[in-house]
Amino acid sequence: MPGLQALPANSANDRGFEKRDPISASIREIRGKKMPVNFWRPFVFILAVIGSAGCGRPATLVETGNRTQVLHRSVGQDLQDLDPHLATSAADYNVLSALFEGLVAEDPVDLHPVPGLAASWDITDAGLSYTFHLRPEARWSNGDPVTAQDFANSFKRVLTPALAAPNAPALYLIRGAEEFHKGRESDFAKVGITVPDASTLRLTLTHASASFLAQLNQAVWFPVHLPSIEKHGSATDRANAWARPGKLVGNGPFQLEAWRTGQVIVAAKAPTYWDAATVRLAGIQFHTLEGVDVEERAFRAGQLHVTDALPAGKIDTYQKESPEQLRIDPLLSTYFYRLNTAKPALRSAAVRRALSLGIDRNAIVEKILRGGQLPARAFTPPGTAGYTFPVAATDHAAEVAAARKLLAEAGFPDGRGLPPVELLYNTSDNHRLIAEAIQEMWRRDLGVEVRLANQEFNSTLEARRTGTYDILRSSWSADYVDPASFLDIFRSDSGNNFTGWSNPEYDTALTAAARAATATERNALFLKAEALLLEAAPIIPIYHYTHVFVIRPEVKGWRPTLLDHHPYKAVWLEAAGK
C-alpha cells in the first residue's frame, strides 16, 4: 500500500492545497488495486476525510499570532459575564481587565496601584478623602469622553439592590454606601461620592484605609458606560444583555470583537484608549478550555501561548523536556482546613493546635503536590505587600512532640477519649491524597482517628454554611495584594468565617490596621492579629498555592505577579531569532 504511507507526511502547514493531489492519487491507487471493495471502503473513506480536512491547514494559531501580535491565552472555565459589576470569577477578571480600566491600574511587576484612568489623586482629611483627577483625553470605545460622572453612575449602579451585584460590599468603604445598599438610605446624594467637575471625582471614606487604592483594581470598581447600557434595557436589570459584542462599550486597552460562548472571546486593540501608543499587542483571544489536560494538549498543538494551569502529573515532563516553557509563579492563595469550633472534639484550642502541628507540610508539598508550593504555617502568604508572618523553622519531629504534649494537656493523651472527627473535602484527587496523608499522620503520630468524607463542591459549601462539618477543606485567594484580604475573613462579622471562632481583640487589631498611618504600624497590627488566629487555630493552614502553567517563549512581559494578573499593555510577542 504505497499510497497509504504517503499520508503522514502531510504535516507541513503552509503549502496549502497542492497537498490535496497526492491524497486523491493515493485513494485512486488503492482503488485501482482492486482490493475487496467492501473491506477497504470504510477505511478509504476515513483516510480521505482525514486527509482532505488535514492538509489545507494553515499555520497554527500561535504562529499566526506571533506574526500579527495576537496573544492566545486560555482562561480556563467558561466566562460568567462580561458585566464587570456582575462577574466574580478569576476568568472573568482576566478578560475584563483588557476591556475596562478603573481609576488606578496595576503595576505590571508587583501590581501596586499606578495611575489608570485617573492621572493623579490627592489624599486629604487624614486619609478620609480621595480626589481623583481623571485624564481628559480618556475615551470610551465609542468615542465618548470618560467622565467623573460615569464613575459616579457606575458606583450607584453597583450599590442599587435590584442589580444584586455580588461584590457590592467592596464599596462599603465609601461613606454612606452600606446604608444605601442595605436600603436604609434612599438618597444617593448622601453617599460620599461627589463630582466637582467632569474630570474630578471625590470619594469620602468611612475610615482611612491603606489598601484602598489597591482595592480599586477589582472589577466591581470599573466604570461602565450607562447611556449605552440603557439602550438595551434598564441598567440595573441583571438580564440586560448589553455585555455582548457590538453592544459593549468599554474603556480599556482592548475592545470586544467577538464572543463565542464556551469557546473564545476575541478582543482587539482599542484605538480610542488613552494610552494606545503603549499597547503593543494587536489583539488577545481568550480561549475557554475547561480541564487542564485539554488545555495542555491545545498548548502542544500550537493553539495557545499561555495556559491557565498545568496538570501536576506533567510538571516533571516539562521540567525535563522543555523547562523554558514551564512556569511556577507564586500566588496569593492558601489551602487550609477550617475547624468547626462548635464541635465537642474541636472546642479546645489546644486540640486544634495539636492537629495543626501534627501535619508534616513539607511531605505534602514535596511528595504529593510537587509544584513548588510553600508549606503554610501561617495563613497569609509570606511577602504579601511587604508583610511576612515569622514562623520558626522547626523540624517536624519537634512539632509532633509539641502536638502530643498539647493533646495530653487537653486531656486526650495519645488521642484517647477524643470524640470522633470527620474530615470533609470536595471530591478531587488532590484533596483526597492530601486528606489521606493527613489522616495517616494524625493516626500515626498523635493517635487521633479521623474519618474521611467527600462530597461534590456545592454540597461542601452547604455544609460550611450550615456548620454541619467538623473539619473542612477550604481555600482562599486574595482579591488585592494586602494581608487584610486574608485576615479579614476571620473577623467575627465576616461572612466567610464559618468556624464559629471570634475574638474581639483580633477584630480590634484589624480595624486599627485598616486605619494605621504607617506601614510599620500596620504590619505590627497584622502580626498581632495573625498570632491570635494561629494561637486559637480555628483553621489549619496547609500550603500556599503556586500558579503552575506553561507559556511559549515568544510571550514577553508575562511577569510572575501574585494574583496572576498581567496588565496587557505591558505584554507583547516576539518570535525567536528576530
Partner: protein, 305 residues
Amino acid sequence: MLRFIARRLLETVPVLLIIVTATFFMIRFVPGGPFTSEKAVSPEVLRNLERAYHLDQPLWRQYTTYLGQVFRGDLGPSFKYPNRTVNEIIADKLPVSLELGGLALVVALGLGLPLGVLAAARRNTWLDYVASTTAMLGVCVPTFVLGPILVLLFAIHFHWFNASGWYGPADRVLPALTLGCVYAAYIARLTRGGMLEILGQDYIRTARAKGASELQIVLRHALRGGILPVVAFLGPATAGILTGSFVIETIFQVPGLGREFVNSAFNRDYTVILGTVLLYAAMIVLLNLVVDLVQVWLNPRLKFE
C-alpha cells in the same frame, strides 16, 4: 398511522409534566444553591439575588410561575450567566450538539453497518474475526481514552487538526470520529447478529436456490430484516449521542449542550437544569416514536396499534 402519532404525541404531555415537576422539586432539595461559592456573598447580596430571581417566593408559587413560563415557551434566565436566558443557551448550544451527534451517527452507521454485514457474510473467516475484534475493541475502549489518543496522534504529532475547539469543518472530524466509533462498534455487533439470524432463514435459502448472487442476497433480501435490532438500538442511541456527548464535548472543548447540562447541575443553575432536562426528555420521547414508525415500515409483520 396519523392517529397513532397523534395519540403518542398526546401521551407525551403528561410524561413531560411529570418529568418537569419531579426535576423542579428534586433540584431544590440538593444541598447548595446557585449563589454559593468559595467566597460567600453577603446576606444582603443573597437576599437581593433571591429577590431578582423570585427565589424568595414560596416554592409552590415558583413552581406555578415556572410552569406558566414554560407554556409560553420561556425557560427563564440563567442564574450562573446573568445576562443569558435558558432559551438563548439552548439556541446557542443545541445546534452544536446536533451537528456533532449527526456526524457521529453518520460515522457510526457508515462504519458499523458495513463492518457488521461483512462479518456476517464472511462468517468465521479472517474477515469476520478482524471485524468482530475491531468492534469488540470499539466497545471496550472508552471515549475518554480514544479521544486523547486521536488528539495525540493527529493534532499534536501530525498537526492535521486542532487539539480542541469548534471553528472550521476540520474541527468536526476528531470529535465525530471518537463519538461515532463507540456506537459503530455496537452497531457492527448488532448488525452481525441480526444478519446471521436472517441469513439462516428459509426465504434466504429460497433466494439462494433461485440463483441470486451472494451480493443480492445480502443487500436485497437480508439487510432489511437484519438491521431491525440496529433500528431498535438507534432510538436510545441517537438520544444518547445527542445528549450524552458530555465527555466528548469536554475532551475536544466542543461548545455543546451536553457540557452545559452537566455544568448546570454542578452550578445549581436551576433554570438551565430544568430547561435541558425538558428538552432531552422531549427528544427521547420523539426519537422513540420515530423508531417505532421506522420499525413498522421495515417490518411488515408489525402494525400500528
